[in-house]
Every structure is written in structure tokens, then in C-alpha cells.
Symmetry: C2
Subunit: 566 residues, 2 copies
């Protein structure tokens, strides 16, 4: 493609409204432009990257046995009323009325629509399983759209839905799509982790998020420094692997701790390390009071409490409630002498403590010499804390490291959440009607483009991996008015386009402008045709490493082959 | 692709809400489903056809030098206010508000947005011309969506826009895209005509519509039976090619025609053929009265009057106005003795009339023996009538035939309509600021799929041309439980997928169901594996001709090659 025919408006200055590298560079290199807050156009280069990502997505989805269709953006309110989400979705769902005043949503997702399509056509286990996907524009009226195409209000998404007669079938397809997702993000060149996530309000079971590691990510991931294990920090299990102390057990004794409330204060006041303190927190779990214990240097994870107790709502008790239940306000709570109506849930780490400190349920008083196995009764030991950096990896391999992640994909076992609400049933082998079991699987296609740009850039611009680069090669004659340069460039363009996608900078611009634009755009290899054109010698520069070499055009293909990643 | 994994819900019955063949068959063969009035899902087979058409469109657009981008559906009201169309577009434009109560349109088209994008980045003639296109979802709230995906409210469109420094450049690109459009519709296998159309309210100059010939079309086309000439009947010029009569001229005489008003009545009353009568109609053209004459068997074309007189509004005068101006009400109007304030515009055919009849501007009176060249004065002879079937083709080749057409494409010289309103200017060679000259070019991609289905079907189902067929071959084992049939089918599937797209009917269905579905879906070639599988013999059936033959699998590729259209 000749650059003079493209529309690549590059910018020298960093746009003032762009605060992350990917957004700055996608604007500066002329890949995208904003049309309204969170609403973007993909200019020709951006559209090309989008198409490369789409192609990878399609290939891997098809390989996993998914079949493509295309559903509309306009969705009748009635559909969403059936599932109940018309009322629960909130202002993020864009709504409108047609000329007959009928309510429509602009689809933020398509569970309702696909469930409706499939229930109308499939009624037998013989036609299951079925996995359908689309690559389609979604609308979500984000409160704070930001980072350009990373979090927009109109964006391109690949969404897939699977329908099953039993859970084994769902497990099988979930595995396949999990693998497809891994392949997709690997082929995009991304450093990512498949992260165990919280199934949350969706009521499903297994769920993984695919997170691209990046400092601008909004989620924190705990992953192993030596294996593929990764989980959202809220979900990462902590394995019981605490050192057993050989310290002699002291006697339990009440000590004065006037006005000392936090672990920080108490440990300082008593001159003991924080890990010698037991943190006691009273929660209200549904209608039951639960005292939760963790070691002083650990943090309580209320999602784990919720899951262990299979509860709906977990909230910290108020000081007034604490006073009522334990006879003392927050700051001196503790597990000794707790009434039997309060259940005590303790983290495993507490069990290994020797001569610890804990609140005495009396204002300004703590116990010292607490040996849980000796002194505490009626305790359920569970994993109730957040994992920490340096903890052993839950899979037993290596240690845990934290990182921020950008969510680019999500696989989810939905179960019968939608099929039950919307009456999507089938007849099983015995002629019995049952709701279909469903899975759903999303990839933010335009967000993936942003994530790639965020991971692949340097001080001079973007540095595309070949698999998603808008073109393979940038052919740049220094001076197109020089006959020999023009002639050689034309010849090379014709030759190279047979096997590669070539962007040919045929513009009458100064070399400095051409080189700066070329670095900014970031194609894997630049071929510069300059003074030595008459000798048949060109410069080959590798964008990623900056390596550059003079090559006789006879050896050009060979050199490209050597450096370009297939 | 194995059919058991696809989602192809076929129907035996004709859906009651589908009133044209394409819609009935696309529903019955499981290509589309309706989600709301005028809003459709493309199921896997439909999506595949859509992608084939998209691919053809992309290839031809790129070949014509157009570059792809992707603009959003959400468009801020401010953009449309700049062009003025926010107020003039009417209820067909879908509108909504975001969570901050800002007004948005769901793009029915993208002139405003592309003009805004280009004006912000291009400021020099050096960066022109520029041709950009997208394949993107459009929204138009049609009053009466109908014929399924032929006229929907959400549909897929290819829209292109070109920007130029001068009209020669626009002409050049217009030509190229005209050719690209011809290639696209030819490659889709369509019988179409590029029709000269009315530039109408858009204020442009040249414009062509690409019309697929079909009885369900909403427009009437006049085309030549022996050349490529075609025009919207409103626009077709009539060439002056009337027989000269050798009849002796009679005297002008006033005759009584009591209560005879229409041409029908007068010709019957006076026992003369209609073509001997002069039809006189009084129009109000802007602020001027114009008496228009055509032969009694012809019809006045008011668009031609408008264009000849470069008028804004052309309307028939009321009886009261006729009385005031010509002293007589409609029914006896005529060109003899007309006051000089009224201009007379006559069709060329009238000039060739001998001894004609015309109204005498007196109730119940006509003139006979009217010889226009002798008796009528101050007449401007022009082409003011509608062309008729049987008229010579305007290009001089063959005769005119009428047909109904489905508009699938439109190319249009916009001029400066948008660039002036939106201040999209550039500096020319002399440093002078001028508005960019624009063209716009649309193709209804999803509508094209419907048009193909409308032209390619028979009593058993759809009959896809190979270029847009969802698959090339339908491989149908009669009984997958028969080991030899299954084995041969599996082997053939593996072999054929190397060079062809194969739909493999691996379902456990009765042969009758499989064959009926196969005919309905309409792939170009069906390969049936049946009783003679053990001998290596299969049946090859050509969908279009119904021709069928038994073939040894050794000769299968050869046979397919012979019958399949590349």
C-alpha cells in the first residue's frame, strides 16, 4: 500500500488528553481518533491491526469448534425484561425508543438474545452441544471512559455462548475455549495470565479472566514466579505452609493496653512484631455474627468468608453491634470467652502462632501468651486471608508475585442462570424437559489492540509484533526525486508485496519526517533506500532491537526471513 | 464444517410473515432470524454469505485505491447540527441520549463524521485525493421495514467517501468506483444495471444507482434491450426520432366537445387516436406559469421540467389558477392564443404532429387541424416526457424495456455540500483556501445478500452462485451408521477440505430430510455417499441444473473442477 493514499495523520506532540502510553501512541501514530468521549474511529492503520486480531480470534474459535453468527445491536426491551436485567443493569446500558415508542437496548452483551434464538430452534439433546460466537460492536455507557480504546463506550467484542445437555459437556467446551483464548493472546504476542476469578453475582461456578500484565491495569493479580498459576488476589487460595515455632509456651496473661487499638499500636506498645498479634474482626454474615481471626500481618478476605459460609452478604459489624455481642468495641476484640452464639473462623496461620497477643474483649486490655491450640475453643480453621507477595504459590511451584492486569478476556460457566429465566429447555434422553446449561466467553477485541500497544512500545513509538502489525515491512526511499532511489524502491515494492504486506512511503517528505513517522508507526522491519541505491544496497532496520545493517538487495529476502517472526 | 456443529434451523413450512421468495427461503433454510421488526440475526450460513460479499467488496474497493477504516455508530448531535441534517433528517434517524443527557444519533450514514475527521487532519492539496471506506452497521428507523433483510432498520453497509482538490480528480475516482461497483455485483453473480439517477435534494451532479433486476424492486428502470444503457425512468432522456407524417395539412377549426375533458374522452368523442391529441397541462414553476404540451399518449415528466427550468418547485396549477391565467378550467386548456406572460414548453413529439386536436381555452371547445409549426407560436421544444417501453434506447442502441429494480449500490458526486457547511477546507497550489470536493459511494451489503437470494432460487430452495455460497460442496452420506458410507465420507471430507469449503452432513437424519435440507440450503454441488460407497462410487448433483451423475471417487476432483465455477 502506498503511504500517499493512506490516511495516517501523525502527531509530533503528545496529546494533552491522553494519559497512558498506548493511547498517546495510537493517537500520535494515526491509528485512532476520538469522535466523542469513549467513542473512537479506527483510522486505516488501526483498522488493519483490528482485522489482524479478529483473524486470529476467528481461526482459534473455529479450531475450538465454535461457529460464527452475527446478532444485531438493537435489542427489544422485552428480552431483557424476561431475564430481569432490564431493571438491574443500570445506566451503563444504553437505551432508546424507536419511532413507535418501543423500548430498545443497544446490546452491552448478548446472553438474552442468543438464549432467545437458541430456545426457539433447539429442543432436543441431539442438537447439543452448540457453541456460537460473533465479533460485534457493543455499547456500554461507562461512567468514566478512559485510556482511549482501552475502556470505550462503543467497542468491538468477540462474544461466544455455549449450550449443553450436561455439565461434563460444558466442562469440555470450557476447556477448549480456555485453550483457544490462551492461543489467541499468545499469538498476539501478549504477556498475559489466565486468572482464577470470582464468579460473583453471575451465580456461575468456574470463571477465568485473561489478564494482560500492565501497570495501568485496574485489577491486581497474584501469580507464581515459576509456573502458570495466576488468580485475582481476591480468589487466590493460600496454602498451609507455616513454620512451626519451637518457642516454649508462656502462660496466658491479661495485659494493659490503654488506648491501643490497631495491630500497629498494640505491637508497638508491647514491643512485639505484628505477626505475633492476632487480628480479630467481627462480621455480620447474613444474620449471624462471625469473629474472624488472622495473623497481625495478614488481611481478611471477605470473599473467602462469603464462599466458605455460602453467604449472600458479608459486612463488618458496627462498633455498637460489637459492644452488644462481645461486650467491647472494636480495638480490643478477641476470641477468648466468646459466647457460643458467635462462630469463630480463623485463618490457618493463627493455628501456628505461639505466645500471641489478642484482644481481651475488655476496653484497653489484651491477652498475651495466647497459644491458640491450647487456649482457644470452638474454632473453625480455614483459608480466610488475602494472599501476599512472597507467599508460596498455591500450586506449590515458586513464590507469589503481584502485578496489575488489563482484562482482555473472560470465560465463564453460566449454568442455568439465563435458560431458567427465559425458559430455554430441551428434552433429554429420557424425554424429560430440562433447562440448557450454558457457558459464555468474551474477548475485548478493540481493548486487545490497546493492550498490545501498551506492552509493545519504546520512546520512539509503537513496536508491533508481526502477527498483528498493520504491515510487515516499511519501505522508505529517502528521496523519491532521485531516479535511482525511486526505481529501486518501485522494484522492491513489486517484489516484496508478493510475500509480505508492505507500506511504501512514496511521500515527498524530508527524511527526518519519514524516519520519525516510521518509528512511530512501528512496523517490524524498515527497508531504507538511500544513497547506495545505484549499487543495489539498502539499509534494513529491525524496529524492536534497533539493529540496522546494509544489505545487498540480492540478499534482502534472506535477511527479512531471518529477522521476521512468522 | 460438520453440520452437527452448525446452527442451521430449517423450516418445512413457509413462514406466514414472509411475502417474498428471498425472505421465505432465507428463513426456511436457516440463514436469518428476525429479532424485532426490521432487525435480524445472521445465523451461521447467513453470516458466511455476508462475509463472502464483504470479501468481494473489500477486494474491489482496495483495487480501486480506497482505504478501509471504521467509524463508530454513535454520533454526537453537534456534528449533525453543523450540516443541518439533525433537523431535516426526520424520524428515520434513530436518536438517543447518553447518561449525561447528551444527544446522539445512531449513524444512518457517515458524511458528517468523515468530513469532520478529514477536515481535522488534511489541510493541503498535497494530501488529496483521499478515498476512505468502511463496512459498518447502519441504523435507519424505516417506517415500513419489509422483505426481511432487504429493507431492515439495522443493516450492514459499505460506505465510501472521497475528497478532492478539483472536479477532474472527483471524476476520475467516480469512474474507478463505478467500475469497482460493476465488478462487485458481477462477481456476486447478479443481473443488474447501473442506472442514471436523479441527484435530487443532495444537490450533486452525476449519480448512478446500481439496481438488481427483480419484480419485487421498488424502482422502475428503463434499460436498453441491446446495450448497457439504463436509467431511472424519471431520468431517462427521450431521443427525437419521430416519423414525419405526409398527411395534407387541414385548416384550423374550432369544434364542440361538450363535457369532454380527458384525452381519453376527447379522442373517443372525435374518433381520433390519442396520439392525434395534444395534452396541455398548466404548471406553476416557482412563481411562473408554464403550459406544458405532450402528445396524448405520452406522460409529462415534471423532474425534466424542473431541470430544464432550473426550478425549485414544480406543481400542477389549480383549476382556479388555470381559469385566471387562461380563462378556462382544466380539460379544455390549449396553446392557441396564450398570453405572453405564460411560457409554453412542449415535448419534441408535438412538433411532428399533423392535424392534431387541442383545447381551445374555452369550456367545451377544442381546436382540430392543429399543425404546431404552422399554428403555434413562442414555443420552447424540449424533452419533457417520460420514456416509454418500445421507445428507442437513448444511446441509440436497441429499444427501451422497463423493469423493476432493487437498489443495492449508489455512487454520487456530492460536490461541496458537506465541506462548505462543515468548513472542510484545504490550501490549493496558490495557498488559497477552498472547500474540498467530495463524492460518496454506498453498497447495501446485507441487502445484496437478499438480492442474490431473490435472483437465485427455484421451487426447492436457494441456488447460490459459488462466489457467495456459504460452502462450495455439500457432502451427504445417506446413512452414517453404515460403516462403509461413514468411512468413505470421512475420507472424502478430509480430501476435499484441502481445496474446497465443505459442509459435511454428519447428522443422523433420514435421507429425505437430508436431501430436502440440502436443496433448501443450495450449495453448488452435492456429493451423496450411498449404497455404492463400498465400490468407491458416489453421486454428484449440480444444484443449479439438477444434473446428477454417478462418479468413481478417483474422478471426483476432476468432475468437481468441471462443474464448479471459479
Amino acid at each position: 500500500m502506498k503511504q500517499s493514499m493512506m490516511f495516517i495523520p501523525t502527531l509530533r506532540e503528545i496529546p494533552s488528553d491522553a494519559d497512558v502510553r498506548s493511547h498517546q501512541l495510537l493517537l500520535r501514530a494515526g491509528f485512532v481518533r476520538q469522535n466523542a468521549a469513549g467513542v473512537y474511529s479506527f483510522l486505516p492503520l488501526g483498522k488493519k491491526v483490528l482485522q489482524k486480531v479478529e483473524k486470529i480470534v476467528r481461526e482459534e474459535m473455529e479450531r475450538a469448534g465454535a461457529v460464527e453468527l452475527l446478532m444485531p445491536a438493537l435489542q427489544q426491551a422485552e428480552l431483557w425484561q424476561e431475564s430481569g436485567r432490564w431493571y438491574s443493569y443500570g445506566p451503563e446500558m444504553m437505551r432508546m425508543q424507536d419511532r413507535h415508542n418501543r423500548d430498545f437496548a443497544l446490546g452491552p452483551t448478548h446472553e438474552e438474545m442468543i438464549t432467545s434464538l437458541v430456545r426457539d430452534e433447539i429442543n432436543s439433546y441431539k442438537k447439543l452441544p452448540l457453541t456460537l460466537y460473533q465479533i460485534q460492536t457493543k455499547f456500554r455507557d461507562e461512567k468514566r471512559p478512559r485510556f482511549g480504546i482501552l475502556r470505550g463506550r462503543e467497542f468491538l467484542m468477540k462474544d461466544a455462548y455455549s449450550f449443553h445437555a450436561n455439565h461434563e459437556s460444558l466442562d469440555e467446551v470450557y476447556e477448549k475455549l480456555f485453550q483457544a483464548y490462551s492461543n489467541i493472546f499468545s499469538r498476539c504476542g501478549l504477556d498475559f495470565r489466565a486468572v482464577i476469578a470470582d464468579s460473583g453475582a453471575m451465580g456461575g461456578k468456574d470463571t477465568h479472566e485473561f489478564m494482560v500484565l500492565s501497570d495501568i491495569g485496574e485489577d491486581t493479580i497474584a501469580y507464581s514466579d515459576s509456573s502458570s498459576f495466576a488468580a485475582n488476589i481476591e480468589m487466590a487460595p493460600v496454602i498451609v505452609n507455616y513454620e512451626v515455632s519451637h518457642e516454649a509456651e508462656a502462660q496466658l496473661a491479661k495485659v494493659d493496653t490503654p488506648n491501643q487499638h490497631s495491630i500497629e499500636e498494640v505491637s508497638k506498645f508491647l514491643s512485639v512484631p505484628k505477626e505475633k498479634c492476632i487480628k480479630s474482626m467481627l462480621f455480620k454474615v447474613d444474620d449471624q455474627y462471625v469473629l474472624v481471626l488472622v495473623r497481625g500481618d495478614h488481611e481478611v478476605n471477605d470473599i473467602k468468608i462469603k464462599n466458605i459460609l455460602e453467604a449472600s452478604v458479608v459486612e463488618l459489624a458496627t462498633p455498637k453491634e460489637a459492644k452488644e455481642v462481645l461486650g467491647c468495641t472494636i480495638g480490643s476484640l478477641g476470641p477468648v470467652g466468646v459466647p457460643s452464639s458467635v462462630c469463630i473462623l480463623s485463618d490457618h496461620a493463627v493455628k501456628f502462632m505461639v505466645n500471641g497477643i489478642c484482644g481481651a474483649n475488655e476496653e484497653g486490655m489484651h491477652f498475651s501468651g495466647v497459644n491458640p491450640l491450647r487456649d482457644l475453643e470452638n474454632i473453625q480453621y480455614e483459608d480466610v486471608r488475602f494472599i501476599q507477595e512472597g507467599d508460596p504459590s498455591p500450586d506449590g511451584k515458586g513464590k507469589v508475585v503481584f502485578a496489575k492486569g488489563i482484562e482482555v478476556g473472560h470465560v465463564f460457566k453460566l449454568g442455568t442462570r439465563y435458560s431458567e429465566a427465559m425458559n430455554a429447555t430441551f428434552l433429554d434422553e429420557n424425554g424429560k424437559s430440562r433447562p440448557m446449561i450454558m457457558g459464555c466467553y468474551g474477548i475485548g477485541v478493540s481493548r486487545t489492540v490497546a493492550a498490545i500497544a501498551e506492552q509493545f512500545n519504546d520512546e520512539n513509538g509503537l513496536v508491533w509484533p508481526r502477527s498483528v502489525s498493520p504491515f510487515d515491512l516499511h519501505l522508505v526511499p529517502i528521496n523519491t526525486k532521485q531516479e535511482d532511489q525511486k526505481e529501486l524502491s518501485d522494484k522492491l515494492y513489486e517484489l516484496l508485496t508478493k510475500d509480505y504486506e508492505v507500506l511504501y512511503d512514496d511521500r515527498m517528505e524530508r527524511p527526518g519526517v519519514k524516519f520519525a513517522d516510521s518509528d512511530l508507526i512501528g512496523l517490524p522491519i524498515r527497508i531504507t533506500v538511500g544513497k547506495r541505491a545505484a549499487e543495489g544496497i539498502v539499509e534494513v532496520k529491525i524496529r524492536q532491537t534497533g539493529e540496522s545493517m546494509e544489505i545487498n538487495t540480492e540478499n534482502l529476502i534472506e535477511t527479512i526471513e531471518k529477522f521476521i517472526v512468522k
